[in-house]
Symmetry: C2
Subunit: 280 residues, 2 copies
């Protein structure tokens, strides 16, 4: 079913696998004009987040941070765009917008996001998947190697997927509806078959409730960077799961009137379940 | 009852008041060997936190970070010490340990904390208190000027207090009891009268539940830095309330076996109320 390899004991082998699979890019300084925040982030396992999941659930879809600024905080992650216009995936330092037509588009630095989370991905643990497995089986394997439910993990799954069911959402107009209503009424679901590509996301502890999504949250893009979305379900034929242990969390709280004036006191936990797990 | 002064419109007057009261120190770079993290913190309104309130409520009292490292992230804040040995206040860049004897002690850089939150304090709003007011009246005044319930605030109250009721807790031995049981059975309460000094603390939004204390959380130290503790209640005769709007939050998640192995899934909200508000 699997081979489970820990970096601590098999560093050379894992390095070789990583080199072959190309799943981790060189993380040397990309430019000379790197700012202090970027240097800081490179030196630490920081998960950096814009706004809160409760704000997004409540319909705060206006962009709060530019993609240029977001990219200064990580090379790997997920989120959405101004007006809830599609699903965001950040992979290999590139940001893609997977719209409700199922197509992945490159993103201008001037675009904005109302909610996103990114990190500089470094592999701490690697699982090789050499047998067909469904999404529950894969998450079961991941849980076997997570050392604690109390820290954060960025996760990347590179593989060939027999099935990949993703969804996206269309841009909204003000007054913005609740996210749960957008999902129920407007989400577009796509079922891809025999597709190679990358899942990117996080496993986060229970105490992020209200701020981000406790448990798993994954987005997918295919290898040709042409299609993808928020992952609803999949079957993988073979691939690798990389896990990055993350023990610093930074939350950027928007200062916009939209965010400052919102009533965020509603309990959104039921909405969150529908939005993240169900098909609307 | 009060004069309410906003920095935006009365900057010079407020600057004068601050100079007179001495409530805000020069925040220029204190040394040449300042590291990147410190520079970053100086440039931003970052609330920096070690571990989570739920971990503390569950009895994780072992020190997770040195005071030297904590001081690199802020000049103002609160927390506790290794083995829950007293209440921490960080004021004017100094850290004091207010033990269960009611006495404030200076703290070595090598001491450690299991839970603390600090920021570099900058005054965004100032309230002048020129009439006697109880704690509810003061928090009522503060709430009149907070622009939103969705961002974070560091708060400092400099004044002369007709009454100041504080508590502290004694160092614990392993296996550590729950914090709620320490408070119920072992907290020491002190009632100071006609004392000049500084309250330092935070107002935090609901979404930090599980991570920190939603609402107010204050510690006090007297002007001679000889006594203080966790604030239970007070009556102020005159003084100033300074509020620092804070829109970045950084959580440092411990990587110790104690933290990694803890079962943090218990709902601690009732415990939190007893620990923060009641007298045990």
């Amino acid at each position: 079913m699997k081979r489970l390899i820990k970096l601590s004991s098999y560093f050379l082998l894992v390095s070789l696998l990583i080199s072959i699979s190309g799943c981790v890019d060189d993380t040397s300084t990309p430019s000379d004009d790197i700012d202090i925040k970027q240097q800081n982030a490179f030196q630490n396992d920081i998960l950096y987040q814009v706004s809160t999941i409760d704000a997004l659930l409540d319909g705060l879809y206006g962009g709060q941070m530019s993609i240029a600024e977001l990219k200064g905080h990580g090379d790997t992650g997920l989120g959405t765009f101004d007006r809830l216009d599609g699903e965001m995936i950040v992979v290999d330092r590139e940001v893609y917008q997977m719209k409700a037509d199922g197509v992945a588009y490159p993103v201008e630095d001037s675009a904005t996001t109302p909610f996103a989370a990114v990190t500089y991905f470094e592999v701490d643990e690697l699982i090789v998947l050499d047998d067909r497995a469904n999404s529950s089986e894969v998450t079961g394997l991941i849980e076997e190697i997570l050392p604690s439910e109390n820290i954060m993990y960025a996760i990347r799954i590179n593989g060939t997927f027999e099935q990949m069911k993703v969804r996206s959402v269309p841009a909204q107009e003000e007054p913005y509806p609740l996210l749960v209503d957008v999902i129920k009424e407007e989400q577009a679901v796509f079922e891809l078959e025999n597709v190679e590509g990358n899942i990117v996301g996080f496993w986060l502890p229970y105490y992020v409730e209200g701020i981000n999504v406790p448990g798993y949250h994954f987005h997918f893009i295919d290898g040709s960077r042409e299609k993808g979305g928020h992952v609803l379900d999949y079957v993988v034929l073979n691939g690798t799961v990389s896990v990055d242990h993350t023990t610093e969390f930074e939350l950027s709280i928007p200062e916009s009137p939209e965010f400052m004036d919102a009533d965020l006191s509603r309990d959104n936990s039921n909405d969150l379940h529908i939005v993240e797990k169900d098909e609307g």
